[in-house]
Symmetry: C2
Subunit: 251 residues, 2 copies
């Protein structure tokens, strides 16, 4: 399988981009680096066609872009979702450089679709969007002036993927669970943890984020998810049986 | 010596840039990647201040930029001049990737000033400008769509320099001859080779380019240049003595 085929399984996802010119610059950079799948979540209005002006020959990438209202829908059929962020904080364990990310991702591309997600200019991805990501890629930069232009941030990651894909002979790689399946599992898990009182019903996010990162690192496949959901279902049944008002072994 | 100090000896030289916004995007990327020395050769008029708009906080880099009419003057006080180009052709032996270039350049930065030269959008550097470069850096890209945006091309090289500088403990590195000294030597050499008829007086460029690349790879220091010029002077004297009309041992 050639580098170009591998990179065909990478989606570049731009969330709520503000400036159409940045979408054009990303489209051009995508074609420079062998990428073709662009996904736009709530793209900006572009009455002047600024995006296509900056695309400089890569207009087809924009015209063929998939468009979604939510990031959750946009990545549902992807097996690995990687967010870009400078705010490491609680996500620390799953943060990698572009080079590390490329080296991890490229071998997975033979059998999996990988989404690289970029947030809005200035603000980046918000918490809810970051929670949908199993990994974070953080770009090394001068700490006195760390904020990169959106198309620059994109380009460095695309370049590392391109370089890694050209030097990789794909080994057999596992087929992972899609983000949609994972979200089903996380919803199930959160429900159970709230029923049991482990999670504060009002503020479940902090613990859930830790669990999302943990299972993200575990690279679950469909069978793993099926087993985990079987466990959750069984736990829920047991819990229902013991709740006041529920049945019990003694009844 | 910290990474920042090493990178202080890198100059980013933009030759005859057409679009002011690209200068702004480069200035921002320079500060992201720990660079500060911008050199502009024949910059564009910018009545609307487009460059500073795109600089997004890096306006000082543009205001402090050195400005020159010719590349030769712009790089005269640099010990290593590296051009960016996609046209490899006759320069093949001295062409490297951004990563290779960064690994070669960073150890030299403790004692040498290095210029990275970027040509005009679309056309790139012309032959005369490329002849002033000892090395060429070529950016890997998809051969079906190889032409990068100017600020993107800049950024990939700056990123590799930044990454290499952060991971380098500088070893003692040699102080090389400055481009101005090298140009004096090449002028001297070309003169002699024309006098002796080795070089076609009308079309000296092809052979001279090969010689420039050869001596570029040799990384000459000031003493090397001094010895080579001594040799040239001696050869010229001998040649004058033997020419019809010149003196001879028998006279």
């Amino acid at each position: 399988m050639a580098a170009g085929d591998l990179l065909g399984n990478v989606s570049i996802v731009l969330v709520h981009t503000k400036t159409p010119a940045n979408i054009g610059a990303v489209a051009r950079g995508m074609m420079n680096m062998g990428l073709s799948r662009l996904v736009l979540v709530r793209p900006p209005r572009d009455p002047e066609g600024e995006a296509e002006k900056l695309a400089a020959g890569a207009e087809a990438v924009i015209r063929n872009a998939a468009r979604f209202e939510t990031l959750r829908d946009a990545v549902a059929d992807h097996q690995l979702v990687i967010g870009t962020s400078r705010q490491k904080g609680r996500l620390r364990k799953n943060v990698h450089t572009p080079r590390e990310t490329a080296e991890q991702v490229v071998p997975l591309l033979a059998k999996n679709r990988v989404a690289i997600v970029f947030g809005r200019e200035v603000n980046g991805l918000d918490r809810a969007d970051l929670a949908l990501c199993q990994e974070i890629v953080a770009i090394p930069s001068d700490e006195r002036f760390p904020s990169l232009n959106l198309s620059h941030a994109f380009l460095l990651i695309a370049y590392e993927l391109f370089v890694a894909a050209r030097s990789t002979t794909p080994a057999p790689s596992p087929a992972l669970a899609a983000a949609g399946e994972l979200e089903g599992f996380f919803g199930h898990l959160q429900g159970l943890l709230q029923e049991t009182g482990f999670l504060d019903r009002e503020h479940p996010d902090r613990i859930m984020l830790t669990l999302r990162q943990l299972f993200g690192r575990a690279r679950l496949d469909a069978r793993d998810v099926s087993i985990l959901r079987g466990i959750l279902t069984q736990l829920q049944k047991s819990f229902q049986l013991r709740k006041p008002g529920g049945g019990s072994d003694q009844a």
